[in-house]
């Protein structure tokens, strides 16, 4: 986070924008001392900001479903950040695990539904502790929620001049929700006759992310499938530590949240060697969302130049020995 703020200050100075920050130290540590991930009025304290730049959340010993349902997921929902937008891009200077791919070959967007679907608190347990114990977990797909994420994907495809949308489904196995997803995809696709479409079941789609990632432009997916695809994509491009995301309220009625795709990496926490690019690139997506598209593109360009430069600092995940700060400073200087 400090490196993202460093870069924001530099790019702000360059473009004549001064950012005002309010820092909220809400974390698993807060939970351990107060019993809550954020204060009771936490969402209200966030409400009037233009955007939220969020660091990775999670810590061993605090069950994930507590840390996430106590902070990240309520933010996404309260502020109706129904689009989770994540680029999958093979960057210069990064050696991906897949062979024979060059920067430019892999360059697409995952558009993930971010407020409903499989991430749901509907359900419960019966017969706790008995041999007939059973847990039900219900996913909810609304017409409104499904249609708006699909429209966003089609609009994005049009805007990018990449008029092709792939839908992630599993209507052969998941009986109610996924056939409905397909039905709405067909209905929304009909509104965009100039955009070509296809759909893949999530199992083969994951295999295709590895075997033929160059075929994708915009992939639209439910909350769970989008989560899977937007980690797998960066895995394929070798850039988990680098990948950014926006949790976006497109109508701008509420603030949007920008955060790296990677987790909190407890194995290296406190050692000052985490790759800051995921956070910095998230800040660039935030600039774009705030109407500072040129500044955002400038930051992404700086990241790409630093990565492409073999003599620039690299954190250990990229095969180097640099610290978080050294890499952050190099990007700030490149800006």
């Amino acid at each position: 986070m400090p490196e993202a703020l460093r870069v924001l200050d530099v790019v702000g100075a360059k473009y004549g924008v001064r950012f005002g920050y309010r820092h909220f130290d809400w974390s698993c540590e807060t939970y351990k001392s107060t019993g809550a991930m954020m204060p009771a009025d936490g969402l209200d304290r966030l409400r009037d900001h233009d955007a939220i730049l969020l660091g990775a959340v999670g810590w061993p010993g605090v069950p994930d479903h507590i840390s996430l349902w106590g902070l990240l997921l309520p933010i996404r929902r309260e502020f109706d950040q129904y689009v989770n937008l994540r680029p999958v891009r093979l960057l210069p200077g990064v050696t991906p695990p897949v062979r024979d791919k060059r920067p430019g070959d892999i360059d697409f967007w995952v558009v993930r539904e971010n407020t409903e679907g499989e991430y749901s608190q509907l359900g419960g347990r019966q017969g706790e502790g008995t041999p007939t114990e059973m847990v039900l977990q219900t996913a909810a797909f609304t017409r409104r929620g499904t249609d708006r994420i699909m429209r966003y994907a089609f609009e994005l495809a049009r805007e990018l001049g990449k008029p092709h949308v792939t839908s992630a489904t599993k209507s052969n196995g998941i009986y109610h929700s996924m056939p409905y997803w397909d039905e709405r995809f067909a209905a929304i696709a009909a509104e965009y006759p100039e955009v070509t479409v296809d759909q893949d079941h999530i199992d083969i789609l994951c295999a295709r992310f590895v075997m033929s990632p160059e075929r994708f432009d915009v992939v639209v997916a439910s909350n769970l499938f989008g989560d899977i695809l937007s980690d797998l994509g960066p895995g394929v491009t070798g850039t988990i530590g680098v990948a950014p995301s926006g949790n976006i309220n497109p109508e701008r009625v509420h603030p949007s949240t920008f955060e790296p795709v990677h987790g909190s990496a407890p194995d290296i926490a406190g050692r000052g060697i985490a790759n800051p690019i995921g956070q910095i690139w998230s800040a660039a997506m935030m600039l774009d969302h705030l109407g500072l598209a040129e500044a955002g593109a400038d930051v992404v360009g700086a990241i790409e130049r630093v990565l492409a430069d073999a003599s620039a600092p690299r954190t250990p995940d990229l095969g180097g020995k640099a610290t978080t700060e050294e890499l952050g400073k190099a990007i700030a200087e490149a800006v």
Copy 2:
């Protein structure tokens, strides 16, 4: 299928076993002419067999959820084939999409729960055709269903002398079922103190299948997550057309089903160029299950020798020009 039967006849002759077959022509074509994927007494007709060797199911124009819930999924459930067992193995002579991996580097098993979980007909639709339309989809996890698939995975790990089990979870996002999955994994793991364990959320687990597939031995997963992982694994090893699976009733009270992981490939249907190895290897898994382990290993060895031999026939998916029959005959001869 004819090539799998060819190989079975040859290996049967070699080991002095004569297989009796009953052929059931149940398919999407049956559906189109009769309105049902199989006859009303279809499951009863299968019941008394020792095993079921199933060809890939599905055809454009017949919605997948009809073709699958009308044939494959009822078979899995009626015969309590609660284990879906799928190898992920980098084979000689196959060029995988990932770099720097050699045969032997990637060699593990996905143990997928096969009768409950996310593949469920529980749920429904409200407000059809209205703007407030909503679809609920409920997954069901029972103690019995969860515990038995996990025990199978631990037993397999022990048997293979690969005492490490990885659990696929998503307890940070999926509120009820996945924390329960974790709870049962911890409970069953305690019964196998000599087996080491870890667990990954499905998003990062998919990325790890690409970035570090050599780290896995046995991966245990729910119905949906196992489905995803067992297509992704073969995608990573470049062998979607080759991968086999067993739908196993370990207690042998009911017949088990063996089928390729790949789909029905309508794009090449009828051209005689489909790779028969997925079906042949499935037949080898069937031999193993029927107590003919030596014969099964013999077939797998023949597949490996043919694949490793650069002058042997290869179907187009493997970069060659051979027909299904030529490759099937080569494997039969190698046996």
